[in-house]
């Protein structure tokens, strides 16, 4: 076998493995979708029917007529937007400080920032709950978005890494002209950092939209529920397996926004994440 043939063989093998992997990855989704269109009793059919005989949209419409899902989606969306605005504002300010300002303890503080990235959420979560309970925020949506206005270590890190790729000459020149730092940040640095901003929007949206633990702990009123929590309540209102089609319909509904936002922001992801140290 000559080299060319060998290479072709290898490529074919790669292709097959990728295909099998993709098939296994997408299978659960297809099953979820197919189940979401079924009548409750049809889920017990063996062998599995992949394409339901009748496409039954009742499961989807019932989510809105019987279960208030439009309100839950609005709640989730509201919290997501507040988080994104808060994070972009606070993280860009902090990242600017770490990228372009000087301070005696800057490096030590940066190490501290990286360390908090590794800090397990479980450890801070319970004490935070006690704090929010103490200041009377339990049962409100405030604990779910106010902390975003103080930034998040990972996003600060991403932005700082991206800021460092911006030529310093540009910033120095603006400083010579007497432009204030805030103007430099919002008129020069941020517009050049679009990929990193998009990455933060995608990651933050998914993190908040998908969050289960936070809303589970802090929300007590039914009309404040987010979709993720509402989905779990939906499951527990029924016992047994009769709930499966409507739960699968709600699950499908829950993942659509994440999939869409990833699909449209995808091309930015590889551009916005700068891992390597930057030559200075």
């Amino acid at each position: 076998m000559d080299i060319l043939q060998k290479r072709k063989c290898l490529k074919f093998f790669t292709y097959i493995v990728i295909l099998i992997g993709a098939f296994l990855m997408i299978m659960p989704f297809i099953w979820m979708l197919s189940t979401s269109f079924k009548e409750p009793l049809k889920v017990y059919e063996v062998p599995i029917k992949w394409i339901p005989e009748v496409f039954n949209f009742k499961n989807y419409t019932r989510l809105f007529t019987d279960y208030n899902f439009s309100l839950y989606m609005k709640n989730s969306l509201k919290i997501c937007l507040l988080n994104i605005v808060g994070n972009i504002l606070s993280c860009s300010l902090t990242a600017y400080a770490f990228a372009f300002c000087k301070h005696k303890y800057k490096n030590r503080l940066f190490l501290l920032l990286l360390a908090t990235m590794m800090l397990p959420g479980v450890v801070t979560f319970f004490p935070q709950f006690i704090l929010f309970n103490y200041i009377g925020w339990y049962g409100t949506l405030l604990p779910l978005w106010v902390p975003a206005f103080t930034g998040s270590a990972f996003y600060i890190f991403l932005l700082r890494q991206f800021f460092l790729t911006i030529p310093t000459e540009l910033i120095d020149a603006a400083k010579m002209d007497g432009t204030s730092d805030l103007k430099i940040l919002f008129q020069i640095v941020l517009p050049m950092s679009k990929p990193a901003i998009v990455v933060i929007i995608i990651y933050n949206f998914m993190a908040v939209w998908n969050d289960f633990f936070g809303p589970l702990i802090y929300i007590i009123r039914e009309d404040q529920r987010t979709v993720a929590v509402a989905l779990n309540y939906l499951k527990s209102t029924y016992e047994g397996t009769s709930s499966i089609p409507i739960v699968m319909a709600a699950s499908t509904l829950l993942i659509i926004p994440s999939v869409l936002i990833y699909f449209f922001g995808q091309s930015y992801v590889s551009k916005g994440i700068v891992f390597k140290g930057v030559d200075k």
Partner: protein, 308 residues
């Protein structure tokens, strides 16, 4: 008078430019103090008290810690969590790495395949848990029906205490897309000339992998490995949504056990003690992993801040 105001004004400006760093970093610094430092310290204090949230805390000394270390379920939950973490993370890191190698080729529709591999990672933990409860249904579920095609009678995954852990580990593999994306961006950053000169030296596939790819990727592998370990040690949603810690506490994850103490049994003191023990465990594991990997991690340049 005018002169005085002017100097005052310029002094103010001087103060601002001198403390510019602190001003700009203030959102994070305030957040760190208010939402991390103070809560952590106060939870340490609370761990030495008996407190049900409703009535004021009572000092209890080391009672909470004593009761934790005398609690067989504490050891059980620690074991469950550690087994899950140190079986699932190595499997996932390895699979994600090879998947990224495969997906780093230029075949047709490669972007479609990459998206498919990543898709499960964008799905909420609640959806993953609900969907897989249904997949693991022993009679009508996808998994056992699939196994039946090969003549295998699948077990009762979620209600058999011996099969729950394998079930959760298999389920975790579905979410490797997040790591794959990291590895892909790392692979694309390896300079091409390294491979070309290796080819000139007639280095085979294995040599190229171990001498070029792995060393260049080692910081990213360490980073994703470490964050996966930290994440897995805090597994909660699966236990809450799928199993309620059962059967026979075989999926009593540590974070779920802490949650039960805090919000079901209203034992805030013991919950804080448990959280601090987990913090120390995670800290030790992180330090050990970082130390153990130190000689094996290759950094191109430390300047400008690599991640670790």
């Amino acid at each position: 008078m005018k002169i005085q105001i002017r100097t005052c004004h310029s002094q103010f400006q001087q103060w601002i430019s001198k403390h510019k760093f602190l001003l700009f970093a203030s959102p994070w610094i305030i957040g760190f103090i208010a939402f991390t430092l103070i809560p952590m310290l106060s939870s340490l204090l609370i761990s030495f008290t008996e407190w049900n949230i409703l009535t004021p805390p009572k000092f209890a000394g080391l009672e909470n810690y004593k009761s934790v270390f005398a609690d067989p379920l504490f050891y059980k939950s620690l074991k469950v969590t550690l087994v899950y973490t140190f079986v699932s993370v190595p499997i996932n890191v390895t699979l994600a790495f090879f998947a990224a190698l495969l997906l780093n080729t230029d075949i047709k529709f490669i972007n479609v395949y990459r998206t498919i591999y990543y898709l499960p990672a964008v799905v909420s933990g609640v959806v993953v848990s609900l969907l897989w409860s249904w997949i693991y249904n022993s009679e009508f579920g996808l998994f056992n029906n699939f196994l039946l095609k090969f003549g295998i009678n699948g077990p009762r995954w979620l209600s058999d205490e011996h099969w729950i852990m394998p079930a959760l580990i298999i389920m975790s593999i579905w979410g490797i897309g997040g790591s794959i994306i990291m590895y892909l961006s790392g692979l694309q950053g390896i300079p091409r000339y390294l491979y070309e000169s290796a080819k000139l030296d007639a280095a085979n596939w294995w040599t190229r992998l171990t001498k070029i790819t792995l060393p260049s990727m080692s910081p990213i592998i360490l980073f994703t490995g470490l964050t996966s370990v930290i994440g897995a040690l805090q597994t909660f949603t699966q236990a809450y949504v799928m199993t309620s810690g059962g059967p026979n506490n075989a999926s009593l994850f540590y974070a779920y056990y802490v949650y039960k103490h805090a919000f079901v049994w209203k034992q805030m003191g013991k919950a804080c003690a448990l959280a601090w023990i987990l913090f120390i465990v995670i800290f030790l594991i992180t330090v050990i992993l970082l130390k153990a990997s130190k000689s094996k991690i290759y950094y191109e340049s430390k300047d400008g801040g690599d991640i670790l």
